[in-house]
Symmetry: C2
C-alpha cells in the first residue's frame, strides 16, 4: 500500500465515524421517540470524542508526512493531491482548537438552544441574553484559536466557506443591496393582492407526500440511494453518495411548504448522490482516492445546488406550465379555477416581510445581510448582546421598511446563534449568487437548455452539473469551480440579471 | 469520582458505541435504501474496531483493577459488584479472542450469508458447503480461543447463555423430548382440519398495522420510549431503555404473522424498557451504576419475555375471548362467521411441520433440539459438513416423522450458521422453558392473576416481571432469577405442565 493509500484508508475511517454521527442525527430528527432525547446527546458526544481522537492523533500526523513526501517525488492524482492538502489544513486547524473549548461549546449548546426556544415562545430577549453572551464569548475564543488577521468573523467563516472574508462579503453585499433595493421598489409599486387566498383550504398530507416524492424524482433524486421523510425543520444529510436522506415539512394548509422544501433538499441530495465514486470508500469503488470529510466543497456551494433546483427550476414559469396538472389532479376541489400562471405568481410574490424563511427570492438576501452585519459586529465586540434587538430593528427598518412587533419576529427568530453557529448565514446568499452564476454558465454551455427544461428533461442540466461540479466533491474550491465554468469568481451580476428578467416578466416592469 | 464510578463511565462510553452500532443495524433493516448496503458494512466494521479498541485496552485493565481494589475494602452496591465482575469476565474473554479471528469472521460473514441465500433459493446445498466449512473452522478456532473442558459447543454457548453446557442441555432436552413426543402423539390422534381456510382472503396492511400498534400497547409497550416498524425478519433492538425499537412483518394473507410477531417483539421490548434507570446512563439517571453491555441477562432470558407475551398471553383463550372483537371490527368481511374460539384453535393447531418459524408451541422445541444436536456434532467434528443434509433429514424423520422434500426446507432453512452464529439455537428453547416457569411462579405469587388477565389487565403481571426480572438487567443470571422466584433453576416440568393443560383443553385430550 502506498503512503497516499494508507492516509486515504485512515481518513475513510474518520469519515465512517462522521457518517455514523449523521445517521444518529437523521434518526434523531425523523424517527426517534421522545424518550431517546435522554441518551442520544451522550451517544453523539462519545462519537465526537472518538472521531476527534482518531483525527487529531500522531497517526494522522505520520501518515500525512509520509503522503506529502511521497507526492513530492511523484505526480499525484489531482484528487489525491487536494485530499492531502485539505487533510493537512484540517489537521492543523483542529489541532489549534483546544478540546476543552469544544467541550464547553458542546455542553452549552442544548441549554442555550432550550433557553432560546423559551425566549422566542415568550418573545422575551432578556432571558436568552446571558446564554447568547456566553455563546458569543466562546465563539470569540474559537476565532482566536483558529486565528485571523483582520477580524474574528474571518476565522469562523473558514469552517463553512474556506477563503471567504468579511471584507470580500462586504463588497459583494454592497453591490447586491443596491440592486435588490432598486428592484424591490419597482416591484412594490406594482404589487397587488392575489385574486383569492389559495391556502385557506386543506391539502391532504398523503397526497402532498406523493407529490413531493414525484417532484424529487422528476429532477433526478435517486431513491435506490436515498429516502425522503418528514421532519419539523427540513434538512438533507448524507451517509456517503450511496445513501442520501432528504426531508420535507408538511403543512395541511400551505401546500408550497412541502413542495419547495422537497425540491430544495433534493437539490442538496443531487450534489451528494453525484460525487465521484472514487471519493467515497464503498463496495462499488474500484479506484478509491478518498477525500477529507464528506460532501460538497463548501456550505455555500452546497446551497447553490439546493437553491438552483428550488428556485431557478422549481419556481420557473416553465416548471409549472408543465407540472401544475399534477397538483390539479391531486387537489381538484382546492385548486378549482386556479391555473399554472396564477400558481406561479402566488409562489413568486415579492414583498418586504419579517421572517427570513418565508421570504421571496428578492428580499431573502436582505435578511441575510442584516444577520451577517450583526454577527460581524457581535464578534468584533462593536455591538453588545444587550443592544442586539435594537440593532436588528434598525436594520429591518433600513432595508425593508418594517419594524418587528416583537423580538420573536425579530432578533429571536433563528436558532443559529443559540446553537453556537456564527458566520454561517452568509452561505445562504453565497448559494443564491452561485446558483444564478452556474445557471447562466449552463445556458452558455448548452444553447438548447431552455428547450430541454421546457420539456421537463432535467437530465442534460444534471449531467452537466455532475461533470462540472458535483463529481469533484471537495477537490476544488467554489471559486475554482466558478472560474472554470464562468470565467470569473463569485459575482453578484448573474443573480441581479436573473431577478431583473424574472420579475420584469412577472410584474410587467420596464 | 470513585474508582467504581470511573469504570462505570468508561463502560458507559463502550455501551454508547454498542448502541450506536444497534442504531446502524436498525436503520439497515428498516429504512436504508438498497444502495446503502455498499457502505453500511464498512461503517459497522469501523465502529466494531473502535469499540473493541476502547474495551480491550490498558485503560479498562487499570480501571478494573482500581474498582476491584476499592470494592474489596467497602461493601459495593450489589449492582455495582455484579457490573464489575461481568466487566472483568468479558474483558478476560475478549482478550483471549485474537483480533485477526474476529476480522476473518466479519469478512466471511456477508459472502457466506449471500452464498446461503442463493443456495437456499436453488435448494442446492453443495454451493453453500465450502462456505459453511470455512465458517465452522473459524468457529472451532473461536471455541479454542475461548476455552472449554468438555466440548467446543460449551465455549461458544457462553456468548449467549453464560454457565450453560451441552451436558446440561442434553439432560433438559431428554426430558422435554419424551414429554413432547407423547403429547404430540395424543394430539395427532385427535387433529382435524379447520372448517375453512381462514387465510385465503386479503387482510389490508393498513388495518394490520393499526392492530399491531394496538396489541403492543395493550401489553404495555411504551411508544414514548419506542417505535414499531416493519422488517422482513422481525426483531427488537434497544439503544438504551429510553429508546427501544420493535418490528413486525406484514403478510397480506396470513394475519397471525404480523400480530404474533408484534406481541413477540413487544415482549422483548418490555424487558428493555423496564431495566432499572440506574443501569443506563441517561439525562434522567440520578444514581447511575451502569452495567457491562446492554439489555437482558442472557439470550434465553430475553426470549422468555418475548415467548411469554406471545404465547402464554397472546395465544391464550382469555386473550382472544377479550380481543377478537378488535379483529372482527377491522376485518368484518374476512372474518364473517369466525368466532374467538375458532380463531384461538386456528392459531394453536399443533402438528408436525418442516419449518421451524412456522411451528406451534408443541413441535417448536423439537426443531431446536435437532439443530442443537447437529451443531454440537459439527463443532466436535463427529459430523462432517458434507453429511449435514442427511443427518438433518434422519432427525426430522426420527422426531417428526417427516422428510424434507428438498434442502431449502431442510438443512438450508435458517440463516444462523451461514452468519457464523453457532450454539445460539438452544436459547429459543431455554426461553420457552423459562417462560412457562416464570408464568407458573407468577400465578403462585399472585393468586388473583387469572382474573386480572381475563379482564385484560396486564399491568399486574408486567409490574411483577419488572420487579422480579426486568429491572435487574444483567445483574443476576437466569438461574439466579428463576431460583429466587420459583425455588429451582431452569426446569422442563412447568412447560410440559402448561402444554398438557392447554392442549388437553384445546383437543379434549384425557
Amino acid at each position: 500500500m502506498t503512503a497516499v493509500q494508507a492516509l486515504a484508508e485512515h481518513i475513510a475511517e474518520y469519515n465512517d465515524l462522521l457518517n455514523t454521527m449523521n445517521i444518529l442525527r437523521w434518526d434523531m430528527r425523523t424517527k426517534m421517540p421522545p424518550g431517546g432525547a435522554n441518551t442520544r446527546g451522550m451517544q453523539l458526544a462519545t462519537l465526537t470524542r472518538h472521531a476527534k481522537r482518531h483525527f487529531v492523533s500522531d497517526k494522522t500526523a505520520k501518515l500525512l508526512d509520509a503522503a506529502e513526501s511521497e507526492t513530492a517525488l511523484v505526480d499525484a492524482d489531482p484528487y489525491a493531491a487536494r485530499a492531502i492538502a485539505q487533510t493537512r489544513a484540517a489537521y492543523e486547524l483542529q489541532k489549534r482548537i483546544p478540546a476543552a473549548l469544544v467541550g464547553k461549546l458542546a455542553e452549552l449548546g442544548p441549554a442555550s438552544e432550550a433557553a432560546w426556544a423559551s425566549a422566542k415562545a415568550a418573545s422575551d430577549f432578556a432571558t436568552f441574553q446571558p446564554y447568547l453572551e456566553q455563546m458569543l464569548a466562546l465563539n470569540i475564543q474559537l476565532a482566536d484559536a483558529i486565528g485571523f488577521s483582520d477580524q474574528p468573523f474571518d476565522a469562523l467563516v473558514q469552517q463553512f466557506e474556506p477563503g471567504m472574508t468579511a471584507a470580500r462579503l462586504g463588497a459583494l453585499f454592497g453591490e447586491l443591496r443596491a440592486g435588490l433595493l432598486t428592484l424591490l421598489a419597482r416591484i412594490t409599486a406594482k404589487d397587488e393582492p392575489l385574486p383569492r387566498d389559495l391556502w385557506a383550504q386543506e391539502y391532504a398530507l398523503g397526497a402532498q407526500r406523493q407529490l413531493c416524492h414525484e417532484f424529487a424524482a422528476l429532477i433526478g433524486f435517486d431513491y435506490a440511494r436515498g429516502r425522503l421523510d418528514s421532519a419539523p425543520h427540513p434538512f438533507e444529510v448524507s451517509f456517503t453518495r450511496e445513501d442520501v436522506r432528504i426531508t420535507t415539512r408538511y403543512d395541511l394548509h400551505y401546500l408550497p411548504m412541502s413542495l419547495f422544501a422537497a425540491l430544495h433538499e433534493a437539490g442538496h441530495g443531487l450534489y451528494e448522490q453525484n460525487v465521484s465514486p472514487r471519493l467515497t470508500r464503498s463496495a462499488l469503488t474500484t479506484d478509491f482516492i478518498g477525500q477529507y470529510a464528506v460532501g460538497g466543497t463548501s456550505y455555500g456551494a452546497h446551497e447553490f445546488s439546493s437553491r438552483l433546483w428550488e428556485n431557478q427550476i422549481g419556481r420557473s414559469r416553465e416548471f409549472w406550465a408543465l407540472h401544475f396538472g399534477r397538483l390539479r389532479r391531486a387537489f381538484p376541489a382546492q385548486l378549482k379555477g386556479i391555473d399554472a400562471a396564477l400558481f406561479h405568481r402566488a409562489v413568486n410574490r415579492a414583498r418586504p416581510s419579517l421572517i427570513r424563511v418565508e421570504a421571496d427570492e428578492v428580499t431573502y438576501n436582505l435578511h441575510i445581510m442584516l444577520r451577517a452585519e450583526i454577527e460581524m459586529a457581535l464578534l468584533d465586540q462593536s455591538l453588545a448582546v444587550a443592544d442586539l434587538p435594537e440593532a436588528w430593528n434598525a436594520k429591518m427598518q433600513d432595508y425593508l421598511d418594517l419594524t418587528p412587533p416583537d423580538d420573536a419576529r425579530g432578533a429571536l427568530q433563528d436558532v443559529h446563534w443559540s446553537a453556537g453557529t456564527f458566520a454561517n448565514f452568509p452561505c445562504y446568499t453565497i448559494g443564491n449568487l452561485m446558483a444564478a452564476q452556474v445557471f447562466a454558465a449552463a445556458h452558455t454551455a448548452m444553447p438548447d437548455l431552455p428547450n430541454s427544461l421546457a420539456r421537463g428533461e432535467y437530465g442534460e442540466l444534471r449531467d452537466w452539473l455532475t461533470r462540472e461540479i458535483y463529481q469533484h466533491g471537495r477537490a476544488y474550491s467554489s471559486d475554482e469551480l466558478l472560474t472554470r465554468i464562468s470565467g470569473e469568481s463569485l459575482s453578484t451580476a448573474p443573480l441581479l440579471r436573473y431577478l431583473e428578467s424574472k420579475y420584469s416578466a412577472l410584474y410587467g416592469l420596464n
